[in-house]
């Protein structure tokens, strides 16, 4: 709940700071995104993903799903509801060109990193997400994504409260236990 309040407050600020006129440039319109997703898409907000360097086809799918309410998160459903197909395309291309998130300064706890690495290998995350977790096409970049967001997302795929575009992640998470998710998220967020 606190998160939603923060987001709504941030949205309010964003709409004060910049107009949402469709005639604005994509950079002007993106100010609203950055209010929650951080300057240049480097998120500093709890449970909110960094967007910089995201694969454009993946970003397009997610924006589309928010607009169509196939993925439910009220602030994003609200934000995208009047987007045209062209808007969706422009935003996803724009996000993909922002800088990718950087690894955190600390290298991470070696024991947790090892456990995470083993899990990533055993579940073959690297097959679709690439060995460096940069993603490809419809498969998202994960490297150095916020740990809390990875935790949340993996948990949602696990209990199928987040429906993927296709069913791949629901299947993959079938035998990853709830207890393993934190190590996986820790490892991917600290990947370098």
């Amino acid at each position: 709940m606190r998160r939603i309040t923060t987001i709504i407050a941030a949205l309010g600020l964003a709409s004060l700071a910049g107009s949402v006129d469709a005639a604005d440039t994509i950079e002007q319109r993106a100010v609203q995104c950055f209010a929650c997703h951080g300057e240049n898409g480097q998120s500093e907000m709890e449970n909110t993903p960094s967007l910089g360097g995201q694969q454009a086809p993946y970003a397009l799918i997610q924006l589309f799903m928010f607009r169509e309410k196939l993925r439910t998160f009220e602030p994003m459903n609200e934000m995208t509801k009047s987007f045209t197909d062209d808007d969706l395309q422009k935003f996803s291309d724009f996000l993909s060109k922002l800088p990718k998130p950087q690894p955190p300064a600390d290298a991470g706890d070696p024991a947790r990193m090892q456990r995470g690495l083993a899990l990533a290998r055993a579940n073959r995350c690297n097959s679709c997400h690439n060995p460096d977790f940069s993603g490809k096409e419809n498969v998202p970049r994960l490297a150095n994504q916020r740990e809390d967001y990875l935790n949340k997302t993996l948990s949602e795929y696990k209990d199928n409260t987040r429906h993927g575009y296709d069913g791949t992640m629901a299947d993959v998470m079938g035998s990853v236990t709830k207890e393993q998710i934190p190590d996986l998220a820790y490892y991917i967020s600290h990947y370098r």
Binding site: A122, K136, Q180
Partner: protein, 422 residues
């Protein structure tokens, strides 16, 4: 590209043998994970990665997802799609994101399901114009549609519902009423193709819940139910995933496409065209693939001879999906009573295969003699510009083809009647 079902069997076997050998070699040479703890989990039962060799080339392959937005009519790849001389391909309707299975209403309405979105569309002929309408939304992977006696049947991931007298309510359709939901909820191979058989029953498949898994009694099968949802009966076993079937107009036997497993090798197993000759036949999954390759993991203790072999092989990882027998008079005589099949195209192969619509010419005994492509070009430079999902004959003998990549339906015609009657 021609695939004969009999001649190259030895070649295919040889290919399988080499495939299995190299698969084993890859597994042996792969370095063990540096820090794998003893409790490293096995892959989940549904994972498409089960059996994936740990090689760099294999790591480049991932399931391909269709763009979410339907292509504008003028952006459809019509200049790239090729048909044989005498045939003609045109856009029938566009703007239907993720167009999948099709069904034809008595009054000429074409119903179209979807998988990655929540909608069922209707292509309506009205005042000399075709118009696309969403007639149901908020559904979960409503891939399957079938039409019988005025009623539209819709198959979501784990339930089947109906809308009666749908063609009288296209402007304001009522919500679908669920008739059957005693179905597993697995995402893997959970989406459904459905059809009403000559026995007036609705055929509903349940795929295996993963790439290569030992499934339970509720999966890996085709069921049929009465049109009110009662009387469910399993009629085919060992079915990995069928996304297309129809009944041979001459013999009334059920023919169905069945997709082979991933990650065994680049070239095998082939997808299959199967034929059900009696209720309860077992088609082999996960023990035997393409009729002659014992699965390296589950095949031990079994022989392929325990299972009903396919009547034809549809190509490696080809994703042979929608299939209907051609019963019209518009196409050349050689198409009469032959199955026409949409091959969606591979993802689990370095050089993609499929991405076409083919006719399988049958021998007198009902097995496949050869496979002849009729619409090609969906695959360009190893990338998709479209992906055919289903085929469906119109009353005039032309054939509609759905394309989930572009969210469009094309019409394939032959001879003089080049443009669809409005």
């Amino acid at each position: 590209m021609r695939i004969s079902s009999s001649a190259p069997r030895s070649l295919l076997l040889a290919g399988a043998f080499i495939g299995v050998l190299s698969y084993g070699a890859a597994a042996q040479t792969a370095s063990p994970p540096a820090a794998a703890p003893a409790a490293a989990p096995a892959l989940p039962p549904g994972s498409p990665l089960i059996g994936r060799p740990d090689s760099e080339a294999a790591a480049k392959l991932a399931p391909v997802a269709a763009p979410p937005i339907a292509a504008a009519p003028d952006k459809l790849p019509m200049d790239k799609l090729k048909v044989p001389a005498g045939f003609h391909l045109e856009v029938y309707a566009a703007g239907m994101p993720n167009a999948r299975e099709m069904a034809l209403g008595d009054k000429g309405t074409v119903f179209v399901g979807s998988r990655t979105v929540d909608k069922v569309y209707a292509i309506i002929n009205k005042d000399g114009k075709r118009e696309v309408k969403v007639i149901a939304s908020g559904l979960y992977r409503p891939n399957g549609v079938a039409f019988k006696n005025g009623t539209l049947y819709i198959a979501e991931l784990s339930k089947v519902s109906k809308i009666e007298n749908i063609e009288d309510h296209l402007d304001n359709p009522p919500k679908p009423t669920v008739i059957y939901d005693n179905l597993p909820k697995d995402e893997a191979h959970g989406w459904k193709f459905i059809a009403v058989g000559p026995d007036n029953k609705l055929y509903v498949p349940v795929g295996q819940p993963g790439n290569n898994v030992l499934h339970d009694k509720d999966h890996g099968q085709i069921r049929r139910i009465n049109l009110d949802g009662t009387g469910a009966e399993v009629i085919a076993l060992g079915v990995r995933n069928t996304v297309g079937f129809d009944w041979n107009p001459l013999t009334k036997q059920l023919y169905f496409t069945d997709n082979g497993r991933d990650w065994l090798s680049e070239d095998v197993p082939n997808d299959k065209l199967n034929r059900l000759t009696k209720v309860g036949e077992d088609f082999g999954a996960p023990y035997c693939y393409q009729g002659n390759i014992p699965d390296p993991e589950f095949g031990w203790g079994h022989s392929c001879s325990e299972f009903t072999p396919p009547v034809g092989l549809m190509g490696p990882h080809a994703a042979a999906l929608g299939m209907r027998f051609y019963t019209g008079k518009m196409f050349p005589a050689s198409f009469k009573d032959q199955p026409i099949i949409a091959r969606h195209g591979s993802w689990n192969r370095t050089h993609k295969f499929g991405g076409d619509v083919v006719v399988a010419h049958l021998n007198k005994d009902g097995t496949v003699k050869n496979i002849e492509p009729i619409v090609t070009g969906f695959l360009q430079d190893n990338k998709y510009v479209g992906r055919p999902v289903d085929v469906m004959q119109l009353k005039d003998g032309s054939m509609l083809i759905s394309d989930d990549w572009n969210g469009a339906v094309y019409r394939l015609s032959h001879g003089k009647s080049k443009v669809a009657a409005q």
